[in-house]
Amino acid sequence: MIPVLGLVAGIVLGIVLDVTVPASLQPYLPIAVVAAMDALLGALRATLEGVFDDRVFVVSFVANVLLAMLIVFVGDLLGVGTQLTTAVVVVLGIRIFTNAASIRRLLLGA
């Protein structure tokens, strides 16, 4: 319950604060959010399966977000930023879909 409240509070805070993202960070924000969504859905599925562990969640979240941004950053340096962004989004997208499907099965049994 508290994490859900945290999510809502975070979204409200993010919108209210009206932070202007520096242009140099602009390309990495969407990737960070996709990685965060992946970690979040994984955590939700783990909770429903009864194997949730906060340490694993925090570590995987931070590591995934940083790694995703790092990959895109390195890709930009090498001139293949768009392609690597696509690669990251594809991998994370598959995971998000799979986890969402599992959550759906766990919640709705279908």
Partner: protein, 317 residues
Amino acid sequence: MDRRGGPSDPLRWDDTAVTQTPAPPRRDPARSLLERIGAEALNPSYAAAHDQRARARGEHGPGPEPGGRPHGTLLTALVVALVGVLVGVLVVSSRTQSRQVESERDRLVALAAQQRAEVDRLTEQIAARDAEVARLSEQTLASEAAGSVRAEQIASLGVASAVTAVSGPGALVVVEDAADPTGAGTEDLGRVLDIDLQQVVNGLWQAGAEAVAINGERIGALTAIRSAEDVVLVNYVPVVSPYEVRAIGDPRTLPTEFLRSDGGAWLQAVSVSAGLRFGIDSVRDDMLLPAAPVGQLRYATPAPGSGPVTGSGEGPS
């Protein structure tokens, strides 16, 4: 892999693992990669941590509740809140970004409309000035003794130099792209090119035309017919197929003379080789050809300090 390499072949698959365990069916590496991503969608560490906790509980009796470390929930909530902040910031920033793009586009659209209105205004101004010039020259000529001769001269020169609109009978040459412009062999030879229209216009002059216009663009002394990318520009105005080349002249002789000219021969040749379609008709009714735009007139002036050449051997004697 059909390739069977010897033991020293560097390309040989390391299949010791395969021979030791029952070999799994050969698999498409790309598919197995995707399958693995799907299978490990849930971080395997969750299961590992869970097992570890279960073992710990088994050894030390009832242990802490799953996920029930004192600061665990708070930490989780904090990280989740961080996700929320990220999402919120992303939403806000992408919205401001799209708003910026939109306002920029609106600005450009307004600018374009403004410039177009300016062009319209200037065009009107030109027409008004032209009318004024015509009126004033008429006035001046009427007051002169040799005015009528001068007026005639101006009229005939105006026709020849394409600065006045003219009307009269003549011929109509229609040139069209081939039915399948890219089908006739290489590149876009099936399209009507600038050289084709140049040949047609030259052929019409040769056949005795007094005035020529392509799709309403009068050909004057300073008119260029040239291609820019895929379009043909006449007087810097893009014209498109079908090209209607109107020529004022004798409607009885103009079509046949044109067919016999170099331009007619050119047209027949390209219609055979590239599939361009063309038709020639005599027009007995009056056609109206507009005036060609008059660019800035330039006059040559002698360079300072250079008198007339008097030396021998220069110029025709």
